[in-house]
């Protein structure tokens, strides 16, 4: 069954650490528990989104810079 990584906070989701940097993770990449897969910007402060368990990223469910709600699934893991 697919596992999901959900947003811990409401805000704007970023897949990159900075606009000129490569994304933290691409689809198909493996992740370890606790590894950073993106950032959430909430009220001008940035917070890391970490994988809660290990897996392989099947797909991202939101685009870079999308507005997201707390608890919204961001990525699916296999």
């Amino acid at each position: 069954m697919a596992k999901e990584i959900v947003s811990p906070l409401p805000g704007t989701f970023y897949r990159r650490p900075a606009p000129d940097k490569p994304p933290f993770k691409a689809e198909g990449d493996g992740v370890a528990a606790g590894e950073v897969i993106g950032l959430i910007e909430v009220m001008k402060s940035f917070h890391e989104v970490k994988a809660t368990e290990a897996g392989t990223i099947r797909s991202f469910l939101v685009d870079n810079e999308d507005a997201v709600m707390a608890g919204q699934p961001l990525a699916e893991l296999d």
Partner: protein, 461 residues
């Protein structure tokens, strides 16, 4: 009145948009509020005569979209644009575009914004009228060879600052020569990556300095000052508490400080409301110009409270082409005012921002109390913008009495549904150093490190 019959577009959001709409209405201007999808329910949208949606929630796709805002202005027949603070307020290209489209820009010329926005050019302008600046390089520094004679003059610690930085961003501190030689080469690359401009300059770091700033108003020909504000209580270089007058300035320093601000603003033919920021060393009585903010500031109400001048209304008047209605000798100050920023942040969790729905709201009242806000019961604070919910401002006859009134008003303020910084201010209003005016720009962070863990607990009424 020059305002009558015009239509002002508000290119901002939150409490400042509400503040601008109120001033415009009192001048007989119609208002147009632009808004993002996340702000459809905002108080500013409800108050304005017309409202135009300009894009999705993210500021980069709405409040920073010059084309979308200009299109809204054209479509509604706006005759003027007020940028508020933040977003496009100090964007010279936007100022030029508004004027090129035949509308009045409620701010200084694009040229003045460019000059004061370039820290090196602003320092040169200050030197030309003998306004003291922090010892440092009088221009960009590119190499160690160029930097050596400068650091011999400034000593350590010294700051390496990005010319295009600001708001505390793009600053590296070197405490000795070895550290300096390591930091300088990387600082340029970092500035280029962060701001698109690798230009650097050097400035002596004055530790334990106070932040004082002078409010000016100009009509392009004449400039007056409205005295100073002190904003030394800061967290992560963000002001949290501002007051006027400064509790630290002797009268003769105040006169020299305010005169220097007028000289510098007059030198650039300043139009509109502006603020010249200074560091003040209360051990030596020396002040140093650091930068000019070419817009209305968050903390403008404390100046309004001690002078009785409506700064936003006067700013709009002069930018619509009226002459200044006051001479310097007409501007007097009375009493003491304090503003505290009520933010949607949790003091018990290291000030983690906390958007959400305002369930109940009780606004303090009584004499000398003002609450500038955009929240109302049932309003949902969106996560996409800054955490400022409102500004509680009190005025009283002197500082001691103003502190008592602040404590009283904070006790009346009730915001339920999300955590706020109310209790931080309650604790500060009762703190001995704050009551004595004994603080500097890093005082609050040190105090939070030692006392901050108490902030989550209930403060006794």
């Amino acid at each position: 009145m020059s305002g009558s019959g015009g239509k002002l577009l508000v290119a901002n959001r939150g409490e400042i948009a509400v503040r601008v709409i109120r001033a415009a209405r009192e001048l007989g201007l119609k208002t147009v509020q632009v808004y993002s999808k996340a702000d459809a329910e905002s108080l500013a949208v409800q108050l304005a005569d017309e409202a135009v949606e300009i894009g999705p929630p993210q500021a980069s796709k709405s409040y920073l979209k010059v084309d979308a805002i200009l299109e809204a202005a054209r479509a509604t027949g706006a005759t003027a644009v007020h940028p508020g603070y933040g977003f496009l307020a100090e964007n010279a290209g936007f100022a030029d575009a508004v004027e090129a489209a035949g509308m009045a820009w409620i701010g200084p010329s694009g040229q003045a914004i460019r000059l004061m926005g370039d820290k090196v050019a602003a320092r040169s302008a200050a030197h030309a009228v003998h306004v003291p600046t922090v010892p440092g390089s009088d221009g960009h520094v590119a190499t160690l060879e160029e930097a050596r004679p400068v650091i011999r003059r400034t000593g350590f610690p010294v700051m390496i600052k990005a010319a295009a930085g600001g708001g505390g961003r793009g600053i590296r501190i070197a405490r000795d020569e070895a550290q300096f030689e390591k930091l300088l080469p990387t600082a340029s690359a970092e500035a280029l990556a962060a701001f698109g401009d690798g230009g650097l300059y050097l400035e002596k770091l004055i530790e334990r300095s106070r932040h004082v700033e002078v409010q000016v108003l100009g009509d392009g020909q004449h400039v007056v000052h409205l005295f100073e504000r002190e904003c030394s209580l800061q967290r992560r270089r963000q002001k949290v508490w501002e007051e006027a007058p400064s509790p630290a300035l002797p009268e003769e320093v105040r006169e020299k400080l305010c005169a220097s601000a007028v000289a510098l603003a007059a030198a650039v033919n300043y139009r509109g409301a502006g603020t010249l920021e200074y560091l003040y060393d209360d051990t030596t009585g020396e002040f140093y110009f650091i930068e000019m903010n070419t817009r209305i500031q968050v903390e403008h109400p404390v100046t309004e409270m001690i002078t009785g001048v409506d700064l936003v209304r006067e700013q709009i008047r002069v930018c619509l082409g009226e002459r200044l209605r006051m001479r310097q000798e007409d501007i007097r100050r009375t009493g003491h005012a304090i503003e505290v920023r009520i933010n949607a942040e949790d003091p018990a969790r290291d000030f983690l921002p906390h958007p959400g729905t305002i369930e109940t709201l009780t606004v303090p009242g009584g004499p000398g109390v003002r609450f500038d806000t955009m929240i109302y019961p049932g309003y949902t604070v969106p996560p996409f913008y800054d955490s400022l919910l409102g500004k509680l401002i009190v005025w009283d006859e002197d500082r001691g009495q103003a502190l008592a009134r602040l404590d009283r008003a904070l006790g009346e303020l009730r915001i339920e549904g999300i955590p706020t910084t109310r209790d931080l201010h309650r604790a500060l209003a009762r703190q001995a150093d704050v009551r004595e005016g004994r603080f500097h720009t890093t005082w609050l962070e040190h105090w939070l490190e030692s006392e901050g863990q108490e902030l989550g607990r209930e403060v006794a009424d």
